[in-house]
């Protein structure tokens, strides 16, 4: 009898534990939230740099994730939400990259990408994949472009003739995070259409298990970039 009571109490506690608000959110959201809070705490360092745009961007990401989670809990599709937020993410990273590029051709490619990718997103949403289904074409093009931009950044870094303190260079951490995230996601995006078409990742378990862990890496890199950066004079 005593064992039964104990077992019952333990089950009850576990149920409460699982239902508690903390564990209702996937773990990766905490990384995004932590990155946003870090950008708030270190606002005094980033406010005069290009990185100041990370604060509203990260706020948007956190809000999208929370609303996406809410829609999932309500058993509603959240694909339309990510069809809007994912292009914004790519455009944002491209904007940051192109503003850091010093080589004329890289800068030009970055600026052209911003215009061309925006057009591509609109065409894909309105004429190709639609608004209500997850736009894998955007994911493919975006991932590939981000890998390319990260490589451009590293190429510029290797060519640089002046002394730089790499670990104190925020863009190095950001580029590393973006590079690892998109390289990791690239293989999945290559197969994404096939997987969706053949219902092989219907619950998107494969995508989530890869994507969520890569989010840890990406946002950890953002956090490090804010913490490590040295306070600078206004640049732009």
């Amino acid at each position: 009898m005593e064992n039964f009571v104990l077992k019952h109490a333990k089950e009850q506690l576990l149920a409460i534990y699982h239902k508690s608000i903390v564990f209702q959110f996937p773990f990766h959201i905490y990384f995004e939230l932590a990155a946003f809070l870090t950008s708030v705490v270190f606002w005094y360092k980033i406010k005069n740099t290009r990185l100041r745009w990370f604060l509203p961007f990260l706020l948007l990401i956190v809000m999208v994730e929370l609303y996406g989670k809410y829609l999932r809990n309500e058993h509603k599709s959240n694909a339309w939400l990510y069809n809007m937020s994912v292009p914004i993410e790519y455009l944002f990273y491209a904007f940051i990259f192109q503003s850091y590029f010093k080589t004329k051709i890289f800068k030009l490619i970055g600026q052209w990408f911003l215009a061309a990718f925006s057009l591509f997103v609109l065409i894909n949403i309105f004429f190709v994949q639609g608004f209500w289904h997850f736009n894998t074409n955007i994911l493919k093009a975006g991932s590939f472009s981000m890998i390319l931009f990260s490589c451009f950044y590293f190429a510029e870094l290797l060519k640089q003739e002046s002394h730089i303190r790499l670990l104190k260079e925020p863009m190095f951490w950001i580029a590393s995070g973006v590079f690892l995230f998109n390289t990791g996601e690239f293989v999945y995006t290559l197969f994404s259409d096939y997987l969706i078409k053949n219902h092989l990742d219907k619950a998107r378990h494969i995508f989530s298990s890869i994507n969520n862990k890569l989010i840890w890496v990406l946002y950890t890199c953002f956090i490090i970039s804010f913490i490590c950066m040295e306070k600078r004079r206004p640049k732009i």
């Binding site: 290797l158 730089i164 990791g184 293989v187 096939y194 092989l200």
Partner: protein, 270 residues
């Protein structure tokens, strides 16, 4: 069953491919970091060598300059000084005459030659490296101020504070040349009425400041790295750097100029 196996295979391909791509990306980042570290080390070594080269060059220039000044000083003392002394002696040996005009001319000439001898002796002392080294920085500056004061255009004041001690002779000489250059600038350009030199010795550093109440100078062109402006000031700055001292200059229009040199007393080596 066959479909499930294919799905499982595909899943493994995706996970395997993802890991392989991540390892590749990690390697690229690692390679970049290592390459940049090596490059940074090389840049620092190059900078260090450049700095050493510049210091050696500057030191050699200073040594040559000091040698030249010493030669001029000796030339003044031994030849021109001697010639003037002989001229004065000759003037003294001219027999007295009734011609008042001639007598007055002889007296005037004697006074002029005497003044020239005194001035040249002062100049010779100022230029002579050994003499400055012997006198010490404080005494040498006092002597220079005395010469300036004698001109009657600028009031001078020397304030020494703290435990006064002798520095390395080479450092004292370089400091003295900086002070001399500053005095020259004040005399030539400042139109100052007052000149104050303040030397403070503490346990860790010696602070030397020279302040005038002249018309001041606009220092903003100095911030432009490729400007030819302020060669003398840059020169003083380089000299101070050579002995590990910090050189700074402040000035504003009609409010005078102040030069400050802070020399750490820990390392007495050049």
């Amino acid at each position: 069953m066959h479909g499930e196996e294919a799905a499982e295979n595909l899943k493994q391909i995706i996970f395997g491919g993802t890991i392989a791509f991540l390892v590749l990306a990690g390697f690229i980042i690692f390679f970049s970091v290592m390459y940049l570290r090596r490059k940074n080390k090389h840049i620092l070594e190059k900078k260090e060598m450049q700095s050493q080269y510049e210091q050696t060059l500057l030191q050699t220039q200073l040594e040559i300059q000091e040698q030249t000044l010493k030669n001029i000083s000796q030339e003044i003392h031994d030849n021109i000084g001697q010639a003037l002394s002989l001229a004065k002696l000759n003037l003294n040996t001219i027999p007295a005459t009734n011609d008042e005009l001639l007598q007055e001319k002889i007296i005037n000439s004697k006074q002029l030659v005497s003044k020239a001898i005194v001035d040249l002796r002062d100049l010779s002392r100022s230029l002579d490296t050994d003499y400055v080294k012997e006198m010490g920085l404080l005494r040498a500056i006092e002597y220079e101020l005395e010469l300036i004061r004698k001109t009657g255009t600028i009031n001078t004041q020397l304030i020494a504070d703290g435990h006064i001690s002798r520095l390395d002779k080479q450092k004292e000489l370089i400091l003295f040349r900086i002070v001399q250059e500053t005095f020259n600038n004040i005399i030539k350009h400042s139109e100052a009425k007052n000149l104050v030199v303040n030397i403070t010795y503490s346990l860790t550093e010696m602070t030397l400041s020279i302040t005038d109440d002249g018309k001041g100078v606009d220092l903003s062109p100095l911030n432009e790295s490729n400007s030819g402006f302020g060669l003398g000031i840059r020169n003083m700055h380089n000299r101070a750097k050579l002995i590990g001292a910090d050189f700074s200059m402040n000035s504003s229009t009609d409010k005078g100029t102040s030069v400050k040199i802070v020399l750490p007393l820990q390392s007495q080596q050049i």
